[in-house]
């Protein structure tokens, strides 16, 4: 009998403790009474420590700091003037416009457009009143989009007291040539030298070869049209 009671009590104790632990597993996420009680006491303490209400409201306006914009000068725009040797048509003055965007200290993109008027071929000069092209067809108009590489940056010195930033650069590009009543795809290679008397002004001396396919004189051939020019550009 006694053993039976012991077994009963033991099993009741075991069952209760088991239930208690299972209840803990299930209610793990819920705050227990103890922690909520702690939170209450903390809240009371905070109320006691809170600052007393302000008597004087400070009338200080927050200063807003205006950050001035930094002037970026990566764009270069200007004009060029020089001589263009149109293959078979002599060397003639050429004028044009140029614009560049300096992407890094090494590379820049350049767009240029120019116009020249072709002279006479030796055949026309010797042949008397033979004319190959009309007046409008003699206009040589081109545009070109190029990538430039600042190959040899440096400084040039003018006398004892003046140093100017300079640079030798290489150009390679593609474009189109409108000449003799036809438009042709052209490839250009060149090099230039730039001197900056001030930070925003540049003087250029450039040499470029504009190569395109021409069938004007009967047979298809690649023509090399060399251009040498002087340019003045402004950075802004």
């Amino acid at each position: 009998m006694e053993t039976g009671i012991r077994i009963l009590l033991l099993s009741v104790v075991l069952a209760l403790s088991g239930c208690a632990s299972i209840r803990n597993w299930l209610d793990r996420d819920e705050p227990t009474e103890d922690t909520s009680a702690q939170a209450d006491t903390q809240a009371d303490a905070d109320d006691a420590n809170a600052a007393p209400p302000r008597v004087i409201e400070p009338q200080v306006a927050r200063r807003t700091v205006k950050v001035p914009r930094i002037d970026t000068e990566n764009i270069e725009i200007g004009g060029v003037f020089g001589a263009l040797s149109i293959e078979d048509f002599g060397t003639n003055p050429v004028y044009g416009v140029t614009a560049a965007y300096h992407v890094t200290e090494d590379f820049f993109f350049q767009a240029e457009a120019g116009r020249s008027t072709a002279g006479k071929t030796s055949f026309e000069t010797l042949g008397g009143n033979v004319t190959l092209l009309t007046g409008k067809e003699r206009q040589f108009t081109y545009y070109n989009l190029a990538l430039g590489y600042n190959f040899l940056p440096g400084e040039v010195f003018l006398g004892r007291n003046r140093a100017m930033t300079s640079g030798f650069y290489l150009l390679g590009g593609i474009g189109s040539v409108d000449f003799a009543g036809d438009q042709k795809f052209s490839v250009s290679f060149g090099a230039g030298f730039r001197v900056l008397p001030t930070d925003w002004l540049a003087i250029h001396v450039r040499m470029q070869d504009r190569i395109f396919d021409s069938d004007l004189l009967g047979e298809d051939k690649l023509t090399n049209n060399l251009e040498a020019n002087i340019g003045l550009t402004v950075f802004f």
Partner: protein
């Protein structure tokens, strides 16, 4: 005579307009403070130019201008020189916050305002020269305007397109994109015997391509576009455009 006078007035106005910004010399410059042991000032905006001045820690400089990766600064003593972007990463503003500026690095490649680029390519067998500019709404979607000229044996012409470009994963170095848009094409056929008239037609295109980040600000871009030319004849034409080029972002 009166015409000349009018032109003279216009010229004066134009000159005033052009000269006004440079005459307003009372420009405010951004002042920054050196936190590194010293800030090196080069004589020109390039890595090879000699360092002739240094600015000590806690001294201030005014930023006069920026050219590519170089900042022209003036010290409190009035000495001017060029500081590299790497050195300028360690300067702070007057309130102690770091001086930040767009650097054109991979973060800029992922998210930027605009792009400009130049292409060479093929437009239905003709050689194509093309340029584009784009404006980004966010890092993935951009509106894009491209113009081009094609020069072939059978015909020459020009084209202009406007459309949307969607970049799938802008943070990838090699980043694919798709594009969709509309445009116009002007074709001048080259016929020796019977010259067909020039024509201008509306087009629509769908395409895709990849961008590849090369170095600071620079990326290469290869693209294919399939154009549908809505001709006035019975059949519409389908024209393939392939192009490869360089571009920069800002």
């Amino acid at each position: 005579m009166r015409d000349y006078r009018r032109y003279a007035h216009l010229l004066t106005l134009l000159l005033a307009f052009v000269a006004a910004p440079s005459l307003c010399a009372a420009r405010e410059y951004l002042q920054v403070f050196v936190t590194a042991p010293y800030l090196e000032l080069h004589t020109g905006p390039g890595r090879g130019f000699p360092v002739t001045q240094v600015v000590a820690r806690d001294e201030s400089v005014d930023i006069l201008k920026r050219r590519t990766d170089w900042f022209k600064v003036r010290t409190a003593r009035g000495v001017e020189g060029w500081a590299s972007y790497k050195d300028m990463l360690s300067v702070v503003l007057a309130d102690g916050t770091p001086f930040t500026f767009p650097m054109g690095d991979r973060a800029g490649y992922t998210s930027h305002k605009g792009e400009i680029g130049v292409f060479a390519g093929d437009y239905s067998g003709a050689t194509l020269i093309s340029a584009y500019g784009s404006y980004s709404f966010n890092s993935q979607l951009a509106v894009e305007l491209s113009v081009g000229q094609f020069l072939g044996n059978a015909s020459n012409g020009t084209l202009a397109d406007i459309g949307l470009t969607h970049t799938f994963v802008p943070e990838w170095r090699l980043s694919p994109f798709v594009s969709l848009g509309t445009g116009v094409v002007h074709i001048e056929p080259k016929a020796t015997l019977v010259a067909p008239p020039d024509r201008t037609d509306q087009t629509a295109y769908v395409g895709g391509g990849v961008k590849y980040y090369l170095t600071r600000r620079f990326f290469a871009r290869a693209e294919y576009r399939s154009h549908y030319v809505f001709t006035s004849r019975n059949d519409n034409e389908k024209v393939d455009e392939w192009k490869l080029g360089f571009a920069f972002f800002f």
